[in-house]
């Protein structure tokens, strides 16, 4: 069934936004050799009760939303990452060791209500 939501409110719904993390902004360029930065992204937006089941939500989020309608003291589901991926980092430590390491959960690939 079609969902009647205006274009304006669609923009406010939970979805992924671009966020480039530049290591220079954090001062980390002094020890990270590569990469210089990466597209980490972030999740932001509303998770209205009426649309929870359409916004890549977990079963738990759906139930939490139902509970919120029954008892407003239960918080509404929020927009969170639902799929993350790793990056590799090449850096130099204080002992002049050069280290190549993977770091899990550094890039937001997908968002949903949870």
């Amino acid at each position: 069934a079609a969902i009647s939501v205006s274009q304006a409110s669609c923009k406010n719904l939970c979805h992924r936004h671009q966020l480039f993390i530049d290591f220079r902004d954090l001062g980390w360029h002094k020890w990270i050799i590569a990469p210089k930065g990466f597209m980490a992204n972030y999740c932001h937006g509303d998770c209205p009760s009426s649309l929870t089941m359409y916004l890549n939500s977990s079963n738990y989020a759906f139930l939490q939303t139902l509970m919120h309608t029954v008892d407003p003291a239960v918080p509404q589901a929020v927009c969170v990452p639902t799929k993350l991926s790793p990056i590799s980092m090449l850096y130099q430590d204080n002992n002049d060791n050069i280290i190549l390491r993977h770091y899990e959960d550094m890039i937001v690939d997908e968002c949903g209500c949870g």
Binding site: P35, L90, R101
Partner: protein, 229 residues
């Protein structure tokens, strides 16, 4: 903000923010692995983060440790054919107890390859120095690990130290020491031109760089590989 940064760095496995004086050159193998993984991630290709396919070993952390050793017998007699003797020392204290060493490879950079630098053939001998065998006295060579005959100049030499890896996993020493000796093989082409040999050895002493590449695996982050049926 500083408190949060500290917490995040601990999550990354770092005690504090590194502040190296200068960046050291990154060896090609590490750059290649990094670039391959970056390309795979960009292409959405699934990766096994606990296997280093370029080195064909399991592991999720690669470290290149610089040599912190020193040259030996700098006042040696000019009669022998010994080009140089060096004690190679690597500090392994940053490797956490949880980590299992899956590969150790010693790299020796003998200097740039050049037609004009052609010189005598070299005999490179690498021996173990037992832990503690360098405290208070000059390190002495122990069990020989490798003996290589190499034409001059050779660029980089690599020694796979599988036994060292096995020993390390059982005894967990905080450091490793090796005795490196390079001999210039006597060659009739160089008879009477001893000064050229000495020049070649002096150049080698200047250009020699040693490093230890270690790959470790943290079992908490990597599940055992599936056994083949």
């Amino acid at each position: 903000s500083h408190f949060q940064e500290h917490g995040f760095l601990q999550f990354l496995g770092l005690e504090k923010v590194p502040s190296p004086d200068r960046f050291l050159p990154v060896p090609r193998i590490l750059r290649t692995i990094f670039q391959d993984r970056e390309a795979a991630a960009a292409g959405g290709i699934p990766q096994d983060l606990c296997y280093v396919k370029e080195l064909r070993v399991r592991g999720n952390l690669l470290r290149l440790l610089p040599d912190q050793g020193f040259f030996l017998n700098s006042q040696k007699s000019s009669q022998d054919d010994s080009c140089l003797q060096k004690f190679l020392y690597f500090n392994l204290s940053d490797i956490k107890v949880k980590e299992q060493l899956t590969m150790a490879q010693l790299g020796l950079e003998l200097g740039p390859s050049s037609y004009y630098n052609l010189g005598p053939e070299l005999i490179v001998t690498l021996s173990v120095v037992e832990p503690g065998g360098w405290e208070g006295s000059d390190p002495k060579p122990g069990r020989m690990l490798a003996l290589h005959s190499v034409p001059w100049p050779q660029g980089a030499l690599h020694f796979n130290l599988q036994d060292v890896g096995k020993d390390w996993n059982s005894s967990r020493p905080k450091n490793l020491g090796f005795y490196l000796e390079i001999l210039a093989k006597d060659d009739s082409r160089y008879s009477g031109v001893k000064f050229q040999l000495e020049d070649a050895c002096a150049r080698l002493r200047h250009s020699l760089r040693a490093s230890l590449l270690v790959v470790t695996l943290n079992p908490e982050q990597c599940h055992p590989s599936r056994r083949r049926r």
